[in-house]
Symmetry: C2
Subunit: 507 residues, 2 copies
């Protein structure tokens, strides 16, 4: 069970080295291991058993990283909640995963109280904030003080390390079951792919609940290097932390790159320590990556493509970013150990240059969707992940994504399934029919846009409908704009809404 | 099943790139994949089924590399025979592993005929030499021509990839069962640890039957780089190949480093392409590594310690080789993903600085010894390998080997178990008692030395006894020198021969 072994190795080779820097405090690897092993002990004390799911609803923090490693250390399964989801969405996921223990920080105390009001699912709340412990919750630091460190549970390769929730085409979130093995292989591989070594200082700017951030987290620990953590992404905060803590690596989404480039601090602060930016989770425009390379001339860039079902399976390496090569619109090539094929509808590989669906075989392919065998059977063919992304591969193995089969929008690095938004809209009594599409946006990549037909006798404003959606689903999923129309939605011969037509009409 | 996937990836990203250079010929990755998949098809055609063991007795060659990948591609298990073993030893291993198919090259045709005379174990000999196909054998190239490429068997993590025979304390060789998982993890990890990338040219100078060489082979294929292969180690041949093919990496044992340094060619040829030498398998003297660093100033060095039961689990990295650090007598620190502890006789971890046995948890720990549950139980404690090597670990995690618990000699990188040599000596009618020890040697690290007591009424010369041994066991295991004595061997209170005393007396 390597991901916990890596902590022990970090202590062995660099026990007095700095493991985490957060919020004005720091701890050594020896201290970090002590706290992880004690937190695992505390989890056993509150009744956690092997393979139990334990959730967290929190912004990034050093304690979040302790949770990340304490769960496998205790032999249990992490369930990181999306910090931008609505109460309803998170309750769905907590119930779906059968979670009875929830870690919560200051930022989400109110949501935790709302969860408590709506369901008795959660038996134990663990308060990991900085203030006074609220009534009816256990205190994180007190738990640690009262618990003995326990030995590492030594999880096995195919044990689940976590359930990571993503949106679903059916309108309901689905839990991606992730294995120890996938984490283990990539912890070792990414040392070379991302250039991570003992002197790395990795800034966790992306949310830790996202699997993408784990792919910076894992090799950083494997190298015995230093984690620099900020609660959430703010360009000024990120830049200040890079300058102050001499950060060398960070992993961010294109929207964040844009925000950093636009910050006045980029010219004021000394960020010369920064050596590598890893980006992904959403397509990047050629202009944006070129601007980033110009403005941060000492930084090298790696793009990784993937999805929760198979993370970081391609690499567009620094040398591929030479603009004269014409590869900036590619998401890179299969990472070592990963097999990627462009396939037809029967999963037969297509010749180079032909457009088909991306299929992935990788050590980190998900085990499946938690308790969703039907959806698993559609996404996982003989161990390979069918991505729903449409692409071609050139003669040198570079993959160029063309389209998505899934009716999904990627906004600021977050995936939004149109069905989820359409479901929310339909629950408003004035809505007769609707369709949700992504429209191109310079900052967010895409924004969520709704096309709505009202009942003839009813009325609602754009603002009212958006507020209605936000009461049901995460703000980032709710429409940014709404176009009302009178005529019916354009339908294909098979009776499906032709979203391509709508994107042309409203884009 | 990554080790075959890596071939497919090499074809995908670098299909026209050179995969192998050997004996004046070379082939691209596309050609290599075609031949590997066809060889796998040929194996199916001659009746090989899942998990069947198929052996090879051959010097290094491009075809050896094809065999290495065709076996897992076909879903079968490789059994590489030690090219220096006697006929008796190899027959023991072939029978032990239940092998019915043997690949053999020109160099070992005579031994193959001897094997055929002594046992009917082998049903099919496949001749992989360069000459005329001998009668009663299948021809390698003909098999390839007559077979269709088959799809990769997609082996799973805990499937056996090979059985690798090592000497045994009981006097009989034992087969180390190696998993796909171990190969998979290290193929990815070693890219960073050994600095291997797409432009690497790796020279296979160590014998390919050794697991150590696989640890250069695997990351080289994972990078889609180039294998340069020589039949066996000769310093002039190695140096000429480095110069001619612009080799960047090689993996050799200390004895080979010494032979390279002593070759006049080192000053005549341009070996400036060489960037990294990985060494291990035997202790190195401080003088030798210092001389190597001085004479090859552009080369960086990595030492890896391990044994067949858990290969390459430590790294003494290039920066650790700075002589002022005092680390040249260390074998390095645990590799990322590896947990190493110095333990007492009850496998409890000892404090830093205290001497105990090295215990290893690593993704590449063996599954066990083939059909030897009792010996497996002693060597594999709850998944961790007990090495029999005695060491201490300093405050920074560096491991310093002090002694061996196993009665074993390491000569020129090969392990020789004293029992095996003592058994051979005892079979001579003139020998009444004997003890085999390792004596220090500048070139070989250690040499095998025998202390012999003859029956009072019998006589035999040193030379006769050595010839006798060579008829039974490999030449490198046979004594280099023999000391005859009259008085009894020194015994401990428990009745065991005190070899430390003998080493002092005869060293």
């Amino acid at each position: 069970m390597m991901i916990t072994q890596n902590i022990k190795r970090a202590v062995q080779i660099n026990g007095n080295g700095i493991a985490t820097i957060f919020n004005g405090r720091q701890q050594t690897w020896s201290q970090f291991q002590q706290r992880v092993a004690s937190l695992a002990g505390a989890l056993h004390n509150v009744g956690v058993q092997a393979d139990d799911r334990v959730a967290i609803l929190s912004l990034n923090s050093d304690r979040y990283l302790e949770y990340f490693y304490a769960l496998p250390w205790a032999g249990a399964v992490m369930v990181p909640m999306n910090t931008r989801w609505s109460v309803d969405e998170n309750i769905y996921a907590l119930q779906d995963a059968g979670v009875e223990i929830l870690f919560v920080d200051d930022h989400f105390l109110q949501q935790a109280q709302a969860i408590r009001q709506h369901t008795s699912q959660i038996k134990t709340f663990i308060y990991m904030g900085e203030g006074e412990k609220p009534a009816g919750m256990l205190g994180y630091e007190q738990l640690l003080r009262n618990s003995q460190p326990i030995p590492d549970a030594q999880r096995s390769d195919l044990d689940m390390v976590g359930i990571f929730y993503t949106g679903g085409t059916t309108g309901f979130p689905k839990g991606v079951m992730t294995t120890i093995k996938g984490f283990q292989y990539f912890a070792g591989l990414l040392l070379s792919q991302y250039g991570i070594s003992a002197d790395t200082r990795a800034l966790h700017a992306a949310p830790m609940f996202h699997l993408a951030d784990a792919y910076l987290n894992l090799p950083t620990t494997a190298a015995g290097a230093t984690h620099v953590i900020i609660p959430s992404f703010e360009p000024q905060v990120a830049l200040k932390n890079i300058a102050e803590h001499r950060v060398t690596h960070t992993l961010i989404v294109p929207t964040m790159i844009k925000m950093i480039l636009e910050s006045p601090l980029i010219d004021e602060l000394d960020i010369s320590s920064l050596r590598r930016i890893i980006y992904g989770a959403a397509p990047i425009t050629e202009n944006l990556i070129k601007e980033a390379m110009e403005k941060m001339a000492n930084v090298t860039f790696t793009q990784s493509y993937g999805q929760s079902e198979a993370v970081a399976v391609t690499m567009l390496n620094p040398e591929d970013h030479d603009p004269t090569l014409g590869l900036l619109r590619s998401c890179g090539r299969a990472a070592p150990g990963v097999e990627i094929q462009i396939v037809d509808q029967k999963q037969n590989e297509l010749p180079r240059g032909e457009i088909g669906e991306i299929m992935i075989r990788s050590p980190n392919c998900m085990l499946g969707y938690w308790k969703k065998p039907d959806q698993t059977a559609k996404a996982l063919i003989d161990g390979a992940v069918l991505t729903g992304d449409v692409a071609y591969m050139d003669e040198k193995g570079y993959i160029f994504i063309q389209d998505r089969l899934k009716d999904m929008i990627i906004t600021g690095g977050e995936n939004v399934y149109s069905t989820e938004v359409e479901n929310a809209l339909s629950r408003h009594p004035a809505v007769a029919d609707c369709a949700v599409i992504g429209l191109p946006d310079e900052k967010w990549g895409e924004i969520v846009h709704a096309v709505v037909i009202l009942h003839p006798d009813k009325a609602v404003t754009e603002e009212e409908l958006i507020v209605h959606c936000r009461s049901l689903i995460a703000a980032y999923k709710s429409p940014r704009g709404i176009s009302f129309r009178m005529e019916p939605l354009p339908l294909s011969a098979a009776g499906k809404v032709m979203k391509l037509e709508l994107r042309k009409e409203y884009g």
